[in-house]
Symmetry: C2
Subunit: 578 residues, 2 copies
C-alpha cells in the first residue's frame, strides 16, 4: 500500500471520477501528494441533480456540492478533510509525457505553471453537443453542462422571465428538464426529438410511447421525428425555435442533444482515442500511456452484453471507474470490466428503466433478437398498493441468452429492483431459464408470488420454444388504425363482457368477438378458422392460455397481443372507446 | 410437447405449487387429464396474504383466492378456464406406486375411490409446528395454517372479542401477525421469541434489534429469549400465556413457531425423505420414484450458497418449483437449481430483507465469515425523499466470496432492489469485487451515485484487505453499558460539535473526545496513543477515512464503529443523550 512514498498524483477534472480517484488514492497512500486541477470554480458537484435543482426539488445549488453530512465540497474541504490539493480556475494546457509534466494556466491571471506528476489521471468529462444550426449563440439558449448554467436557468425561471420553453432532445436530460420546467414552475414546455421516439436506442417503441403519453398528460407538448432547424431571436435574445415542422415561441431553449467526450488534452498528448473521440483505457483505467489513467465521461468502456466498446457518460459509472483508477494508481490491481448500460429515470409520476440492449439495438448488432412484453401486477394483486407494471425482455432466440430488460411503472423503486437484478444477471450471460428461476424476495407488499421479472422470462420461454405466437403492440396499433390495409382478421376479446361491450359496439360484432376467458373451452366452435384471430386480454397471460387451448383443437390461426390492453391504454390511442 | 396423449396427471395439494403445475402441464399437454385433489374446500389462495387479510388491508378472503382479473379460483374456474379437474374436500389416503393409483376419501361422505395416474405430483405443503405445551387445544389459540383459521381470527377481532393478543414466535409470520393485530385493530399485542433475537437465522443481531425497536415504537410488546410454557384458559377458552419469564393475559394466541413439511403420504409410500421429513427431489422435481413429482413446502431444495439441502417454505419458490414440475411432467427438461433464501418483510413503516447466509449461519457453516455494516443514504443525498438505509454484507475472508446481504430501511421497494440484485449475484458465486462494480441503475431519485450495495462492497473490500479495523455494534453497545469491564478506551467522535456536545457532557471529556472530521489532520497530536480509540461518525465512512489517516501518522490504535450512530439510533439505546 505504502510503497510509493511521496508520489505525485495529478488529476485533471474535479467532478465525479476525479475527486473519487483523488480521495481513494490518498487514503491508500497517505504520503502521496494528490492534486486536482479544474478550470471551474465549483467542483465535485452532482451534475445529475441539475434537473432537480432547476425544478426546485433541491433548493440551493450548494446542496449539489455537499456531502451527505452537509459539508460543502470546496477547496478547503478537500484540503482539510481529505488531504487533497485542489487548483480551481486552473486549466490544463498540455501534457509533456516525457518529462511527466502538465502545463497549466490560471484562468483569471493567465499565469502559467508546470506541475510534475508521477501518475496523471484525466477526468476531463464531456461537453454537450451543440447542433450546427443558426442562433445557438443567442442569449436564452442553454446546455446542461455545468452548475453555473443551471444557476442561471433557475434564476431566469424564478425571476418570472420564462413563460414558454423549448427542450431540444428527448433523451434522459431533455425529459428531466421538461419535467423540471413544467412540474413546479408551470412553464409551457415543448419537447422535440429528432428520432421518431423518446429515449432512442435506450428503450423500444412501447416504452417510449408510454413515456410520451405520460409527458403529454402532464402538460408537456411532445413532437417526435422533428429536428431543430434554427434558434430564433431578437436583439440577441431567444424568441423561439424553428423546427422541421413548425415554429414555436420560447423564452428559454434547452439544448440536450447528447454529450461528447472532452479529450483534446489526451489527443494532443498523443494518447489513443476511439473513433468517436473517447479516451481508450484498459480494465485498470490506464490509457495508452501506462503512467496516465482516465475515467468518467471522457472514456469508452466495454459493453458487457455485446462485448464492444461503447460510450456511457453516467455519474455512477464515473465513480466506480474513479475508484478503480485510484486503486491502480496506488498499486492495487482492481479492474473495471465494463457495463451493461443500466438506465433509470423518473418522469413526473412514472419511472422508466432499462438494462442491456434494446430490441432495436440488439437487431442492429446482429442478434436473432426477439422480445417478451408483459404487463403484470407489481405486487400481490390483493395488496392495496398494487399497480400494473410493464416489462419487456429482449433475448436471443438462438442461444436463449437474455440481452436486456426494459420496465415502466409507477414512480418508486419497483422498476429499478427488477432492472438491477436483471443487470447483475445479464452481465454474466444469463439465459431465459436463469431469469425464470431468478429468486426475487417475496412478500405480498413487494411482489407477486411469481415476480414480474419471472413472468417476463416465462413469456420469453414460451415464445422461444414456439408455443406462443404473438402480435406486437406496434403492429396491432397499425392494424387498428388502418383496417383496410391489413389481412383479414378478427379480435377475440376474452375480457369481461362489460369491458368488451363498448368495443363490439364501436367496431361491430363481425370484427370484434367477445367470448369470456372462462367460456372459450365450451364455445370455441363459434370461432372462425379462416381469419387471423388476435386474442386480447389485459396483460397477455390469459390470451396465451387461450391460444394454447385453441391450438389443441386445431384452431392455429391466433396471435396473442403482447402486453394486452394494459400496454395499449398506457400508450394511449384515439380509437379507444369512452 | 404433445407426445403423451391423454396422460393422467394427478396432483395432491391445491395451493401454490399444485395449481401452478396443474395449469402449466395442462397448457403443455391439452390432451392430458389433470386432476387436483385437496382436502380443503378453499384452494389456490395466497397464504402469504393472510396477515394482510387479518389486518384489514385485504377486506375479503375471496380476494386471496382471486386472479388479478377478479375471478375466484374455485372448482368451476379451474374446470372452465383451465380445463383442470379439482376434487376438493377429498383426502389422499395412500399411494400404490406399483399400480399407480391414489386412494382417496371424500371428507364429508367417507366414500373412498381409487384414482389412477400416469404421473403423480405431491404438493402437500406444510403444517404449523405446535409447541408440545399444555393448553394448545384451548379455544382462542390459532396457527396460521389455512384460510378458515384466518377467517375465524378476523371474525373474532372484528367482533370486538379480542382486546389482548399474544403471538408466539418472532419469525416472519409472527411479526406480520403482530403488526396486523396492532396496526389497524389496536389490539394490545405481545410477541415472544424463544431465541434471543427476532428472525433468528435469517438476519443478524443489528437487524433483528432495529426491527424489535420499531415494533416496540409501534406499540408491540416484544420479549426475546422467552419461550411459551403453557397456554392458560378458563372454560375451554384461552385467557393468557405463561412464558418462561411471566404470565401475559390474552384473548387470542397466535402460534407461529415455524412449519414442518407434510410428507406422511410420501413417507408411507416409501419415497425418500430428508432427516427433517421433507421430500427429497432432484432438479427436475422428481422424487425417488421417477413417476412421482413433488414441489412446494413439502420438499427440500439446494441452497445455492452453501450447496447443502435446506427447507424453504415460500410461496414464490413453490410457484417456480411447480412450473418446473409441470414442465417435466410434460416432457420439457426444465430444472430448478435451488435458492439462496431471499427474504423480505414489511413491518409497519420499515422493511427488512436478506439473501444468502447470515453471519451467524455462515460461521456455523464453517466459513471464515466477516461482515461489512454500512448505513448510507438510499438515494442522492440532495433528493427530497432521501433516507438512511442499513446494509450488511456477509463475506468469506479467504475467498472474497459474498455469502449474503441484509438490508433495513423505510417501507418501499428500495431494500428489495438491493436484495434481489444481490441474490442474482450471490447464487453465481460472486465476490466482493463483483459487488463493488455491480451496476445499479442510477438517477438521483433512485440511488446515490455510489449505490448502497456498492458502498457495502467497498467497506467489505477495505476490511478484507486489512485496511479497515472495526468494532461491531454489539461490542460497542456492551462497552457502553459496562465501561468497567472493558479495556481502556476513548471515543473519537468526529461528527459536528453540535452533535458531539451532549456526549461529552454525559460521558466526560476524558472518555469522549470530539474533533470534527475536517480538523483531525491538523489536530491528531491531541489524540492518545496508549488507549483504544473508537472512531465514531454517523455512517462509518468518515471514520474509515480518519482511521486511514491516523494509521499513516503512526496512531494504529483506532477501531471504526461499523454503521456508526445511524445504526445505534435505529437499535435504540438507553444511554443516548436527549
Amino acid at each position: 500500500m505504502r510503497k510509493n512514498m511521496g508520489e505525485k498524483i495529478v488529476i485533471i477534472g474535479g467532478v465525479a471520477a476525479g475527486p473519487k480517484a483523488a480521495c481513494r488514492v490518498k487514503r491508500l497512500m497517505q504520503d502521496a501528494e494528490v492534486t486536482i486541477i479544474d478550470e471551474d470554480s465549483l467542483i465535485s458537484y452532482g451534475g445529475c441533480g441539475i434537473p432537480y435543482y432547476v425544478s426546485g426539488d433541491v433548493s440551493d445549488e450548494s446542496e449539489l456540492r455537499s456531502t451527505s453530512f452537509h459539508m460543502v465540497r470546496n477547496e478547503t474541504f478537500f484540503k482539510d478533510a481529505k488531504g487533497v490539493n485542489t487548483l480551481t480556475r486552473t486549466r490544463a494546457l498540455t501534457i509533456d509525457r516525457k518529462q511527466k509534466v502538465v502545463q497549466v494556466e490560471h484562468v483569471e491571471t493567465g499565469a502559467k505553471q508546470n506541475i510534475a506528476y508521477d501518475k496523471l489521471m484525466l477526468a476531463t468529462g464531456s461537453r454537450p453537443f451543440v447542433l450546427p444550426i443558426p442562433g445557438v449563440e443567442l442569449d436564452g439558449l442553454f446546455t446542461i453542462s455545468n452548475l453555473h448554467k443551471a444557476i442561471e436557468i433557475k434564476k431566469r425561471i424564478a425571476g418570472g422571465k420564462v413563460a414558454r420553453a423549448m427542450v431540444i432532445g428527448g433523451g434522459a436530460i431533455g425529459v428531466e428538464m421538461a419535467e423540471a420546467l413544467t412540474d413546479l414552475w408551470g412553464v409551457e414546455t415543448t419537447l422535440i426529438e429528432f428520432m421518431n421516439q423518446l429515449l432512442p436506442r435506450i428503450v423500444d417503441f412501447p416504452f417510449a410511447a408510454m413515456l410520451a403519453k405520460h409527458l403529454r398528460d402532464k402538460g408537456v407538448t411532445v413532437h417526435l421525428g422533428e429536428g431543430a432547424a434554427e434558434i430564433l431571436g431578437q436583439e440577441g435574445k431567444v424568441t423561439g425555435v424553428r423546427t422541421s415542422a413548425r415554429t414555436v415561441d420560447a423564452d428559454l431553449v434547452i439544448m440536450a442533444a447528447g454529450v461528447r467526450p472532452r479529450s483534446e488534452l489526451a489527443r494532443d498528448a498523443g494518447l489513443q482515442l476511439s473513433p468517436m473521440g473517447a479516451i481508450v483505457v484498459n480494465e485498470r483505467m490506464q490509457t495508452s500511456d501506462p503512467f496516465i489513467y482516465a475515467a468518467g465521461d471522457c472514456i469508452e468502456i466495454r459493453h458487457l452484453v455485446s462485448g464492444k466498446k461503447f460510450y456511457a457518460p453516467l455519474g455512477s459509472l464515473a465513480n466506480k471507474e474513479g475508484r478503480v483508477a485510484g486503486d491502480n494508481m496506488a498499486g492495487i490491481p482492481s479492474i473495471f470490466k465494463g457495463a451493461v448500460g443500466s438506465f433509470i429515470m423518473k418522469a413526473f409520476d412514472v419511472c422508466i428503466g432499462a438494462t442491456g440492449l434494446s430490441h432495436d439495438v440488439a437487431l442492429a448488432e446482429g442478434y436473432d433478437a426477439d422480445v417478451a412484453l408483459t404487463a403484470p401486477s407489481d405486487r400481490a394483486h390483493f395488496f392495496p398498493t398494487v399497480d400494473t407494471v410493464v416489462f419487456q425482455m429482449v433475448f436471443d432466440r438462438r442461444t436463449r441468452r437474455v440481452l436486456g430488460l426494459q420496465g415502466f411503472g409507477p414512480m418508486g423503486d419497483g422498476i429499478s429492483a427488477r432492472i438491477d437484478a436483471a443487470a447483475a444477471l445479464v452481465s454474466m450471460g444469463a439465459t431465459i431459464d436463469d431469469f425464470g428461476t431468478l429468486e426475487m424476495a417475496y412478500a405480498p407488499p413487494f411482489s407477486a408470488a411469481i415476480d414480474s421479472i419471472n413472468a417476463a422470462a416465462y413469456v420469453a420461454d414460451n415464445i422461444c420454444d414456439g408455443r406462443l405466437r404473438k402480435l406486437s403492440v406496434a403492429s396491432f396499433l397499425q392494424w387498428m388504425t388502418d383496417f383496410a390495409m391489413q389481412p383479414d382478421w378478427v379480435a377475440l376479446d376474452i375480457r369481461h363482457p362489460k369491458e368488451v361491450g363498448p368495443f363490439v359496439e364501436k367496431f361491430g360484432g363481425e370484427r370484434w368477438l367477445g367470448i369470456p376467458y372462462n367460456e372459450v373451452r365450451a364455445r370455441y366452435h363459434e370461432l372462425p378458422s379462416d381469419k387471423v384471430m388476435i386474442v386480447l386480454c389485459d396483460a397477455g397471460t390469459r390470451s396465451f392460455e387461450i391460444q394454447s387451448f385453441l391450438d389443441s383443437v386445431g384452431l392455429r390461426n391466433s396471435l396473442v397481443l403482447s402486453g394486452g390492453f394494459n400496454v395499449v391504454r398506457k400508450i394511449g390511442v384515439a380509437w379507444y372507446p369512452e
